[in-house]
Structure formats: C-alpha cells, structure tokens
C-alpha cells in the first residue's frame, strides 16, 4: 500500500524512520525487511494468523458502547475491548504475528523488551505455544512495579533479564535487547512496539492493524457507518494507537487523538510527553522525536505507567504529529488514576494504567452532540492493582 502514512523503501515516514543500526545487525534487519511483507501477505500466514487470533487470542474483541461514560461526557463513546484479549492487552496481536514470521525465517530463539510487562507476557505466551526459547529484557525499576507480569513470564518459561543501566526502564530494556541481538545475531528480536529500525515499526503496525480493521465493520453494524468521528489511544512507543488508527489514517474526516503520559506535569521535569518535550533525533535505530538534552544525550522520562515511560515515540507517530494528522494530548499520573477509578466505578472495567491515560482526556474535550468516539481500551488493569490500592489508600 502506497500512501502518506506508509514507509518508503528505506523505512521513512516523511522524515522519520530509517534503520540506524550498527553493521553487526545489518544482515538480520535486511533479511526481515526483504521478507516481512511477502510473509504477512501470504495466504499461509494469513490463515494461521487469523485462526490463532480467533481461537487462541479470542478475537474479534468487542466494541462496547459505554452508556454511562457516554452520558457523562455527552458523546457516543465506544470502547474497543483489547483488554479482553488473551494475556490482557493488545500486545498479543503483534506477538502472534511475529512468532509466525520468526518461524517462517527459521528462527528458534526469541528475545523481547518489555516495559509494563504486557509485551513480555505476550511474547512468553507465544513462545510457550510454539515451543521456542524466550528471553525478555525488563528494566529493574519495572520489574519491581509490575511484579505480577514478571511472575507470569517466569511461569510461561521465559528468562527475565533485568536491565540495570540508565533509568532502568523501557528505554534501557530495549538497549539491552538490542545489545544481546548484536551479540547473538541468529536470534529473532520480537519487538513490542512501533519503534526500532525499519522494518519493525511498519511490521508491528501491520500486525496491530487488526484493531481498526475490526472497528470498521463493528461500527458499521452498530452505527451504520464505518467511521467514527474520533479515535483516542494512549501512546508510549505507540503500538496500540498505530493499530487503532491504521485503517483510518488516510481518511482525514476521522479525528485521531494520541495521548502521552505527562507524569507529574508536562514541564515538571518528570514526564514522558515526547511530542511536547522532544526534538528530532535517533533512538533504538530510528529517526524520530525524542527527549534529549542540547548535546543529544537521551533523557530519562518518567510516568507512573511503565508502558508509557519511554523517551521516544515510533516514527509513524512522529510523522502523524508533524503533519498534524493526529492531535497529541497528554494526561498526568493523577489524571490517569482518576480516569481508571471512574471507568471502574461506572462501567465495571478496570483498565491498565497505560490505557487510563487515553480515558483521562475525556474531560478535556468538548464533544459535539452525537459525536462517535472510539477509545482503544488497550489493556486491563490487573497488573496495576498494587499501584491502584496504594493510591486508593492515600
């Protein structure tokens, strides 16, 4: 598909993207770049991928009209229930797809990075399913704040390696995964978001695109129209947003809202609102917008949510931001917590802390009457219970 929002042959979305990788990784990345589209578009892949998504993951996920939330904010608010996927988040759409690509390429050892642990769990899960060896890199700080997911990964047979450098969060876990990949080029790096060197951002976006593919026919069934007025999704690296936006990117009539984590406040010095604080640079092999100092040293971000605690954003999102195709908003820790409690109380759904950021912008938007809004409910909040309990008591 050729369009403004798909990468060119060198992996660029506008000025963002590319593959800024050490020569050591060149053959691997080239092998993947030469084959991924052909594999994804093959009938054999599609058959197996769709069958696993249906019977193993539990797709299609429901598109639920949240009545009480809608009443409160004066719009028709639909929740795309990615939280109901096996393993509890959208991440598994991507890992199921990539594990099939890895198998097709003859890879037997899988590595991954994880922030909140959702991608780590989703990777460990498909590795267990396929009988492949799995190593997950996770920041030492995240291992503490997302302990239930660490336990799940271990039970699933994965080796969890703590990343102890830098801020000890997602950025550093990704560094460690890339370093391991350099030393072990035969491994398959099953990346969790729309970040990294080309073709990873495009590959992950294509595998998450199932979210908006389903939204189209589900909305048609429920509202008579394929298009909503607005789609809202949270963005760390940006994989759930990429999936929710994917089939609507070309249609400018659909408003796309990406919500970043503002931590203690966008300008508090403790934030992960990349589009507001970042500038053009290179992180994890991709030219994008990232938080850095005047000498190009990458800054340590902060968010209560481990999955959004990342100083960059995928190159597709940098392009959506620069071209103003997507509107970028942000939510603080406090606003996200309040939104999580609200959804729990009035809809009976406990969202992940990441997802709560998307919900947290509802009070900031003035909706028209009958505006159809889809919020990508990217994950469930079981993993965050300890943090929720702590803040409930406080």
């Amino acid at each position: 598909m050729k369009s403004k929002f798909h990468p060119d042959e060198n992996g660029y979305f506008g000025q963002y993207g590319g593959a800024f990788i050490p020569e050591l990784l060149y053959p691997n990345v080239k092998e993947l770049a030469d084959n991924y589209i052909q594999i994804i578009e093959s009938e054999a892949f599609q058959t197996e991928y769709k069958s696993l998504l249906k019977d193993y993951v539990g797709r299609p996920t429901p598109l639920y009209l949240a009545k009480r939330l809608s009443e409160k904010y004066g719009a028709h608010i639909y929740l795309k229930r990615e939280d109901l996927n096996h393993t509890g988040a959208h991440k598994v759409n991507n890992t199921v797809g990539q594990i099939l690509i890895a198998k097709k390429l003859g890879k037997t050892k899988i590595i991954a990075e994880t922030g909140a642990g959702q991608h780590g769990v989703a990777t460990a899960t498909v590795c267990a399913l396929m009988g492949l060896e799995c190593t997950v890199f996770m920041g030492e700080k995240d291992i503490v704040r997302q302990a239930p997911n660490v336990a799940r990964m271990k039970m699933l047979g994965a080796k969890v390696v703590p990343a102890t450098s830098g801020s000890k969060t997602l950025k550093d876990a990704t560094n460690e995964a890339i370093r391991y990949w350099i030393q072990n080029p035969a491994t398959f790096y099953l990346i969790g978001s729309v970040v990294g060197p080309h073709p990873h951002p495009d590959m992950v976006a294509r595998l998450q695109a199932v979210i908006s593919e389903e939204m189209k026919w589900q909305l048609k069934e429920k509202t008579g129209k394929e298009n909503p007025d607005t789609i809202i999704a949270c963005v760390g690296g940006g994989s759930n947003a990429a999936g929710a936006f994917y089939h609507y990117m070309e249609d400018e009539a659909v408003e796309l809202i990406a919500v970043e984590a503002a931590g203690l406040g966008v300008h508090s010095g403790e934030s992960a609102a990349t589009s507001q604080l970042g500038e053009v640079g290179i992180i994890h092999g991709s030219k994008t917008i990232l938080m850095q100092d005047e000498y190009g040293q990458i800054q340590e971000p902060y968010s209560i949510s481990a999955g959004l605690d990342y100083p960059g954003v995928g190159p597709l999102h940098a392009h959506l931001y620069e071209t103003k195709r997507a509107k970028f908003m942000s939510a603080t820790d406090k606003e996200a917590l309040a939104a999580a409690y609200e959804l729990t109380k009035i809809e009976g759904i406990i969202p992940a802390l990441e997802t709560a950021h998307a919900l947290a912008v509802l009070p900031k938007i003035k909706f028209k009457k009958d505006q159809v809004v889809v919020i990508n409910l990217s994950g469930r909040g079981d993993k965050d219970l300890e943090i929720f309990i702590k803040h409930l008591e406080a």
Partner: protein
C-alpha cells in the same frame, strides 16, 4: 598532528587505543592522549561519551556514564582537543553516535572536528545507505573520512562496496559482538580474518572488538595492518590511573 593515512602507508602492526573522553576525571582527556603518545601508541580513538551506546559493552558504557556524570559534553571535548592540537603528533580518530552529531548540528560538528585537526570519524550507527544519501557529501565538504565496520556476517559484495568508500581504513569487527567480549581469538575468527585478507582490498584493515592483550594483538596483526584495544584499556585505566598507562602499552608493542 601526523596524517593517519601517512601512518597507515608507512607502518605495520599499528596499535590503536580507544579511550572515553572525560574519564576517569573530566579534565583527563589531554593527559590520557599525551600518556598514550609517550607509550608508543600509533593512533588514538577518542570516544565521545553517549547516554545510550548501543554498540558498546558494559565497560565502555560505565566509563561513558561516569564521564557524563563528570560533566563532559561535546563543547568541552572540543575545547580539550584544541588545547593539545599543537603538541600532540599522534593521529586521532573520533568515535561517537550519530545522534550526538545530529543534535549538535551536522555542519557545526564537522567544522569543530576539522578545527581540532581530526580527519577521521567512526560512527557505529551510521548505516551505509545514509552515508550514500547524505553524509558522504557532507564529509567530503569538510575533508572528513568515515570508517566503516565489517563483521563476520558482512557479505563479500558489501565488503567490496565498503572498500570503494573507504579512504582510511576498514574497521574489522573481530566477532559478532559488542565491545568488551573476552578471551582468545578462535579458529572461526581467524578463518574470517583470512577470508577478508584474501579479498586483497585496497583499504587498510584494522581489527577491533575483543582485542585485549599481547597475544590477541599479535594474532590480529597477522591478518591486518593493526588492531584497536578498547574495553581492556578502559578497565586498566579505571583501576590503575593515567600514570601507569605505559605499563599497559609497553608489553603489547615490545
């Protein structure tokens, strides 16, 4: 400063040492270079500390982090290098990551490098396609040369292409590894060195990654024009200090 290409043309078994600017202490850059020169090192890789050095192992990561904590930045590095411009005769090669150059301003960065008397850059995350599309013209404008890395997994076709772009030397990565990997040179690695040597490239070959002492240096020199020691030197420097640098270098070159 002596021209690196003159040195490469004149001498065999070249020893190059990598060090991290601003390590162990912020103001040590000039002294480390001077001590390396006195010890008989042929050329020096000046490492620009980076927050996220993807191609470096734990030793160089730690030294970079320490240097950044010491307050090092690109402006200070260039100031430090300017102070020794007249006295230092040993060719210097600058090694850093692309984002550092990008954020500093590509033209400004190149101009400063040239002002310091340096002509050669090693940027491990600068891929060939970006070099072809943009950086070749930029570097040519400033008379800078770029060092490409090759690995055991680099195809012959690609090595030959790199050979045509090379104006100083090709950095032969000893193993598919980040810096700091340990141990002796394996038969597999030697087969790879032989294969590259047999290609009879026009460019000089310098082996790096995993070179740590006299035996590994000597083996590397059997197949190439010299070798680079990085992590092993940083480790030594951290433990023994600048005054003992000669004790590390002498046994390797004698």
């Amino acid at each position: 400063m002596k021209k690196l290409n003159e040195l490469l043309a004149q001498k065999e078994n070249l020893l190059s040492i990598y060090f991290t600017c601003g390590y162990p202490e912020l103001g040590d850059t000039a002294q480390v270079i001077s001590a390396l020169e006195k010890s008989g090192v042929d050329f020096i890789e000046v490492g620009l500390p980076y927050s996220d050095p993807l191609a470096d192992g734990p030793t160089i990561q730690d030294s970079s982090q320490k240097a950044l904590e010491n307050g090092i930045n690109l402006d200070i590095v260039f100031e430090q290098l300017m102070t020794i411009k007249e006295t230092n005769k040993t060719p210097l090669v600058l090694m850093g990551y692309l984002n550092q150059m990008l954020k500093y301003g590509e033209e400004k960065f190149c101009q400063k490098v040239v002002d310091c008397g340096i002509e050669t850059l090693i940027i491990p995350d600068l891929p060939m396609v970006e070099f072809e599309n943009h950086y070749q013209a930029l570097f040519d404008k400033y008379g800078l040369t770029n060092v490409f890395l090759i690995t055991p997994n680099t195809s012959e076709e690609r090595i030959r292409k790199i050979d045509t772009y090379t104006k100083t030397f090709i950095y032969v990565v000893a193993s598919s590894s980040i810096t700091g990997a340990k141990g002796a040179i394996s038969k597999q690695q030697m087969d790879y060195f032989k294969r590259v040597k047999a290609m009879q490239l026009k460019s000089k070959l310098i082996i790096g990654f995993g070179i740590s002492d006299k035996p590994t240096f000597t083996t590397a020199c059997d197949f190439a024009d010299g070798a680079i020691i990085g992590s092993a030197f940083i480790k030594y420097l951290g433990a023994n200090g600048i005054e003992k640098i000669t004790d590390f270098i002498k046994p390797i070159i004698t």
